[in-house]
């Protein structure tokens, strides 16, 4: 493995693959906080040059976190299809990039290719891709999954209705949900982040959302994003859950800090497939986000892009219905400004898609980051172009429970309209049937949450 390069009259010698991977990253405050980032642009470029010439075998043969110490590493290793890997092991990272961007790489080719890739290889190629590279490559890959209904079709942009409430007030949650539906948002999932992490509370939210889904025959699925063990208790207690949720980390240690491991996820997987209310094969909702491993001091000095990619390696074991990277939630110590958030959003989406995951992005920021809503609108459009499966819908982008800003119901309608994207077919048919959409455009009835309140009254 060549770890040395001479560039612009300077010689750079990197200690190991871990250092090359970290320093080849675009600038991220999280890598700086961890003390592993390139010290300047030149060093960064030196690392990218070195990385580009490494082979995929180099990457596989030099594990960043040894499998014997980490179950996520073991899982990623076990998932490699040796025949496919054999075929590509001599490719350099540069060649991988060029293949992905070439006309030769058609969807079936990429589907086959991914079987031989590890999460680290995916992270490596990401580091030498520009923003537009990431959009171009991702736009070729569509990942369709089915819970109650199918999402991820080419030309579709779904939305998660995220009707959170600062005290889990059931009617308050329902009010924001009605607003979401009135804008044609909710085809990905109706998913609530609860304040109160008890089985009883989770059950009451699941029950309400299920009632709305049933009484309006909405082609979607519900989920409450409590800790997986809380959801399991609620489901065992008869709560109607289509999907089960968990946040993932890219290392065993990070997952420990989330209170999970593969064994627990396997149990939850079994439960949701036997006791869940959905029909289809894909029953998981995962969330990830760059920086979470560092924040729990579980990063093993590995950079945050690579760790994020490893989350996807773990996620794919469970054939999730949706995966969402909450890109700018964690704060400026991991992603300082809008430039870093935009980059991370494009990276995560691409890395997830390349590993066969149904990627959505929570395009978001907190108020102590150097970013504003215009930056989020930019990223939403970029991701729409990249073929993101879904975006997050929050009333006016302002989540009054999680205290951060994401994208709004309006934004999802706008991205669809500007880029000619549609809701998922079943959901669009439902919107049309209820008079909220016509030929892919919102009707005059759209945007009025009391539309649903009114009908409840008449139906009663």
């Amino acid at each position: 493995m060549i770890k040395k390069i001479r560039l612009l009259n300077d010689t750079y010698l990197f200690k190991d693959l871990k250092e090359i991977m970290a320093k080849a990253n675009e600038e991220k405050s999280g890598d700086q906080l961890a003390g592993i980032a390139a010290c300047d642009a030149k060093e960064r470029l030196a690392a990218k040059h070195v990385l580009a010439d490494l082979t995929l075998a180099d990457i596989r043969n030099h594990p960043l976190i040894p499998p014997e110490n980490d179950e996520v590493s073991r899982l990623i290793e076990e998932q490699v299809d040796e025949r496919v890997y054999e075929f590509i092991s001599n490719w350099t990272v540069a060649e991988l990039r060029e293949f992905l961007l070439s006309e030769m790489a058609r969807p079936p080719d990429i589907e086959r290719l991914r079987l031989g890739l590890t999460s680290e290889m995916v992270a490596a190629v990401t580091k030498i891709m520009t923003n537009m590279d990431l959009i171009q490559a991702a736009s070729k890959i569509s990942v369709e999954t089915t819970c109650n209904h199918t999402i991820g079709q080419k030309g579709c942009l779904a939305g998660r209705a995220q009707p959170n409430h600062p005290s889990d007030h059931i009617m308050g949650i329902r009010a924001s949900l009605y607003e979401a539906l009135a804008y044609g948002v909710g085809d990905a999932v109706i998913g609530i982040n609860p304040v109160i992490d008890t089985a009883e509370s989770v059950k009451s939210i699941l029950t309400m959302t299920k009632e709305v889904i049933d009484s309006w025959a909405i082609p979607t699925q519900n989920c409450v994003l409590a800790h997986v063990t809380t959801q399991m208790r609620a489901i065992k207690d008869g709560a109607p859950a289509d999907l089960i949720f968990q946040s993932l980390g890219g290392t065993e240690l990070a997952n420990q800090s989330f209170g999970i491991d593969i064994k627990l996820l396997d149990e939850a997987d079994e439960l949701i497939h036997t006791e869940g209310t959905a029909q289809g094969p894909n029953r998981w909702y995962f969330e990830t986000g760059q920086g979470s491993e560092l924040s729990s001091d579980a990063h093993h000095l590995v950079d945050q892009v690579t760790l994020e990619s490893r989350c996807y390696g773990l996620a794919k074991r469970y054939k999730p219905f949706i995966v969402n990277t909450v890109v700018g939630f964690i704060g400026p110590e991991y992603l300082y400004d809008s430039k870093q958030v935009i980059r991370a959003g494009l990276e995560d989406h691409f890395m997830g898609k390349l590993q066969g995951l149904p990627m959505g992005v929570d395009v978001c920021y907190t108020n102590h980051m150097k970013a504003d809503q215009n930056d989020m609108e930019n990223l939403a459009i970029l991701l729409g172009s990249a073929g993101v499966n879904f975006l997050i819908g929050v009333p006016m982008a302002d989540d009054c429970m999680l205290n951060y800003q994401s994208t709004s119901f309006h934004d999802i309608a706008s991205v669809r309209d500007i880029l000619g994207l549609r809701p998922t077919p079943a959901f669009e048919a439902w919107l049309e049937k209820n008079g909220l959409m016509e030929n892919g455009k919102l009707t005059k009835y759209a945007g009025d949450p009391s539309f649903f309140h009114q009908k409840t009254t008449l139906q009663a």
Partner: protein, 257 residues
Amino acid sequence: MFEKEPLKAPNMFGTKNKRTLIDGVNKAGIEEMLRTTPARIAVGRTGTRPKTKAILQFQLDHAAAIDAVSGEVDVSYLEEFDLFSVDTCFETKEEYLKRPDKGRKLTDEAVKTIKARCEYRPQVQIVVSDGLSASAIDTNLENVLPALYDSLKVNNLSAGTPFFVKGGRVACMDHIGEVLQPEVLVLLIGERPGLVSANSMSAYICYRPRFGVQESNRNVISNIHPGGTPAVEAGAHIGTLLKKMIKQKTSGVALAF
């Protein structure tokens, strides 16, 4: 009799003048929905975009949040309560945001100052910090602190010398705990501002704070602001919590209620 009938939902969200509203098919329904949530619903649209007022209001709230992060605490509040000020190790605001570790450690100067000016090994040590919202302190300190003092008196607890930490993070409690060795430490700190309130404060409380304390060893009362938990009641409640901690000699998840 009718006044006593509980409303189905507290009407705490209904009267905000900041809302721009639409005329829906069911006006009563819209009003009712607004009563149940502070979320920005029923804002209307023009094409796929929000109405102008809704956008401008959103931007105004964001501006207030940004100001809360970048602002400084009004010194007259600190003087009113006799709080002297010490620093943590951050140099610039950017560094404060990027390097939380710097906000967890007091400067050598600060350590010297608190050693000199504060009672050593007090039963209760009260510390105030701007954290991520200076305006949280400006808004809540005058209500939370005297109510907290009352609750100490009622519960027969004694407090050491309170002070202000500029640019603190929650875990600065650990460093202060090492230096002053209080039995319990209360940190009143500005929360990361949201759009609903840029002035929200949290009270973090820890029994015998020291380096290496886990997050789960601390108790916290968050969301203290005029639209959330009233500052006076939060302050009044802290004494009860402290009493429990001292009796049980623990805090955080291990504390029994």
